[in-house]
């Protein structure tokens, strides 16, 4: 099992360093591990990396994705049906790392599988699988002391979620094991909800920057390439989840199982967003 090398720079930090030099913004997406199967999930991760995704959030499937909207709830159910769970998700990341040691991988999901595995065992296994950070939907920092310590020990970051209504003590905490970036959520409500206006997003990002020196990425409700571009103007990165999952499902229905063209169409879709985001830089 690969041991954490404290000297080695976290892939998330490396990514932001590189993007800064390139004057580009990060483009991030989300997929649930094993949705619809381990193999296709692995293929999709590779397509993401090949199509210009800078960082991938990988959901570990959970039976009760209480804070998610219908799209991601269903993705979780498909993944569970395909045998997905936290252990298998770690296996998937390890498999991805065999061909890609650069794209940061962030585990995203709910806390019960983590507490069931045990924070220490989990952090060790996640590091070994090549994971760089963790977003826990229902695990606020005020509850996360033990988890954060375990993550720090193994060189992983807990990514703080930041909402406009949140007080600084709930996201702008400086501690080993907390870092990577601020996940800025400009809207209230579960995933897959309505979009915020670009003014609201700009204000939310501004507030994050006032409280923290971490890079800021915006997620929840970013749907179109246009809005992605607007986000890229103010933030360090753009996270698109529900809109892309919905789009990929449409493509899948259109193609009825033609996997090859599917991956090509996924790549095309991502390229649209990628270009919109990158256009900001040249503006």
């Amino acid at each position: 099992m690969a041991k954490h090398n404290p000297k080695r720079i976290n892939r998330i930090d490396a990514m932001f360093a590189r993007l800064r030099t390139e004057n580009r913004k990060a483009f991030v997406t989300f997929t649930v591990a094993s949705d619809p199967s381990f193999e296709e999930s692995l293929a999709r991760l590779k397509t993401f990396a090949a199509s210009g995704i800078d960082l991938i959030e990988i959901g570990h499937p959970f039976s009760d994705p209480i804070l998610d909207g219908a799209t991601i709830q269903k993705a979780n159910r498909r993944a569970l049906a395909a045998g997905g769970n936290l252990r298998v998700t770690l296996d998937l990341c390890r498999a991805f790392r065999e061909t890609d040691d650069r794209t940061p991988l962030i585990l995203m999901g709910y806390s019960n599988p983590l507490v069931t595995m045990g924070y220490e065992r989990f952090a060790e296994a996640a590091a070994a699988a090549g994971i760089d950070g963790l977003i826990a939907a229902d695990f606020p920092l005020r509850e996360a002391d033990d988890l954060v310590k375990a993550l720090a020990k193994h060189g992983l970051y807990m990514i703080p979620l930041a909402a406009p209504t949140l007080e600084a003590r709930d996201f702008a905490v400086e501690k080993p094991g907390i870092g990577g970036f601020l996940y800025c959520i400009p809207v209230v409500g579960p995933t897959g909800g309505p979009s915020a206006s670009k003014e609201v997003i700009a204000e939310a990002v501004e507030r994050c920057r006032r409280q923290s020196s971490l890079p800021v990425m915006v997620g929840f409700g970013v749907k179109t390439p246009e809005l992605a571009a607007d986000v890229a103007k103010v933030a360090d990165g753009v996270i698109v989840a529900t809109a892309l999952i919905d789009r990929f499902l449409e493509i899948e229905r259109d193609l009825e199982g033609d996997i090859k063209s599917f991956q090509a169409r996924v790549a095309d879709t991502l390229t649209d967003y990628r270009h919109a985001i990158d256009a900001v830089k040249s503006a």
Partner: protein, 395 residues
């Protein structure tokens, strides 16, 4: 506040259980609620209005009731029922529905959202919201809604908006998830009304505080009758009536406190609802507690003939009290609970819910091991009217 029930390591914790495992966006909402609750709870005017409503609108105090003809064999301790089935709407859920709606109004909110399994919490909340002129949205699993059509209609008659949830287990657990999602999107106008002392802090503390009235009344009524019980039993669903009843006896070590869990069919390997005795430590619906989950941390569907008991989570207080050995657990099967409810109806003319039937079945076992001068208290959270179709299948 539920002082006696708490051994807090830090605010919102009961021993190592509890906490606030929610989307961070809800933290300010919970912080405001905590402040609002503490302010209200310290305000004599709030207590005065709460007491007035508990008496006039909920129908408290509810009686203690002897059931001498019930035991199938002579001898053993006397069994006494605490009759929260005799509140006006929704059984003991009315206690916390009134408290939480009153608090929501005090905090300037105009609407409430909640979830319901057996229908009782929904009925109580809908009735109180109607009385207060507040909008009310209620989430109910499609399976539960199909099993309780009268409850669905009753909530609608009270003007509530019913949202039937087709997700996952189509039962309480999915309804709770859906209600919390609704709340996340509407926390500026809507209060989430918890049916049980589960969920993130301050819900367990707050609901326990509103349900304490059960224990206080019971203790007073027992003292007036010159009895101190040897054991107090309650069936555990979300735990609202259990926590409410136990609160007044927990610091009295001579009184056995017994949480009765649903064993379902009782067949080994079949799904049940026994997470206090057989569950794992986990994080579910906002709190660290004992849950029914598999080795991978996936939540398991709970099962019981009593919809109010089929919930995979636990009140953190109860998880702590069980872990510390202060509360014992027992189980009763679907069949045992049904038999107890039917025998009580036939011998005493009292129809209690299947949830309480679990506690009554366990109480009969416990009472048999005791002397006739001893007494055993059994919680009756609501009436059996909702269960008539299950109890009497051949029309």
């Amino acid at each position: 506040m539920a002082r006696a029930l708490k051994v807090e390591s830090r605010p919102g914790r009961y021993g190592s259980f509890g906490g606030q495992f929610v989307a961070p966006v809800l933290l300010p909402v919970l912080d405001r609620l905590e402040a609002g609750f503490h302010s209200a709870w310290g305000d004599p005017a709030f207590h005065a209005e709460l007491t007035h409503l508990l008496n006039r609108f909920v129908g408290r105090p509810t009686p203690l009731f002897d059931i001498p003809a019930f035991p199938s064999r002579p001898g053993g301790a006397r069994i006494v029922l605490k009759r929260d089935d005799l509140t006006f709407n929704g059984g003991n859920y009315a206690n916390s529905a009134v408290g939480q709606c009153l608090l929501a109004r005090r905090m300037g909110l105009s609407a409430v959202v909640t979830d319901t399994g057996s229908g009782q919490n929904g009925i109580a909340t809908a009735a109180v919201a109607a009385r207060f002129g507040m909008r009310c949205t209620i989430y109910m699993g499609a399976r539960d809604a199909a099993a309780q059509p009268q409850a669905v209609k009753k909530m609608r008659l009270f003007g509530a908006k019913l949202e039937i949830v087709e997700d996952a287990d189509r039962a309480l657990s999915s309804a709770t998830s859906a209600a919390i999602r609704h709340w996340m999107g509407h926390s500026d106008t809507d209060a989430y009304v918890a049916g049980a002392p589960i969920g993130p802090h301050p819900y367990p503390e707050m609901v326990a505080a509103f349900q304490q009235v059960i224990g206080k009344e019971t203790r007073l009524q027992l003292v007036e009758g010159g009895v101190l019980p040897s054991a107090v039993l309650s069936a555990v669903g979300g735990g609202s009536s259990t926590v409410g009843l136990f609160s007044s006896f927990v610091s009295d070590p001579s009184i056995r406190l017994i949480a009765v869990e649903a064993a379902g069919s009782g067949e080994s390997g079949a799904p049940n609802s026994a997470r206090l005795s057989q569950g794992r430590r986990g994080i579910f619906h906002g709190a660290e507690t004992l849950v029914l989950a598999d080795a991978e941390g996936q939540i398991l569907a709970a099962n019981s003939i009593a919809p109010g008991l089929a919930y995979p989570g636990s009140a953190p207080q109860l998880a702590d009290l069980v872990s510390r050995g202060r509360v014992e657990t027992m189980t009763a099967t679907d069949a045992e609970a049904q038999r107890a409810v039917r025998r009580l109806a036939e011998t005493e003319g009292v129809l209690i819910c299947l949830e309480a039937g679990h506690a009554l079945a366990a109480a009969e076992h416990v009472a048999r091991t005791m002397e006739p001068h001893e007494a055993v208290v059994v919680m009756t959270p609501s009436s059996g009217d909702k269960d008539i179709d299950i109890l009497w299948q051949d029309a």
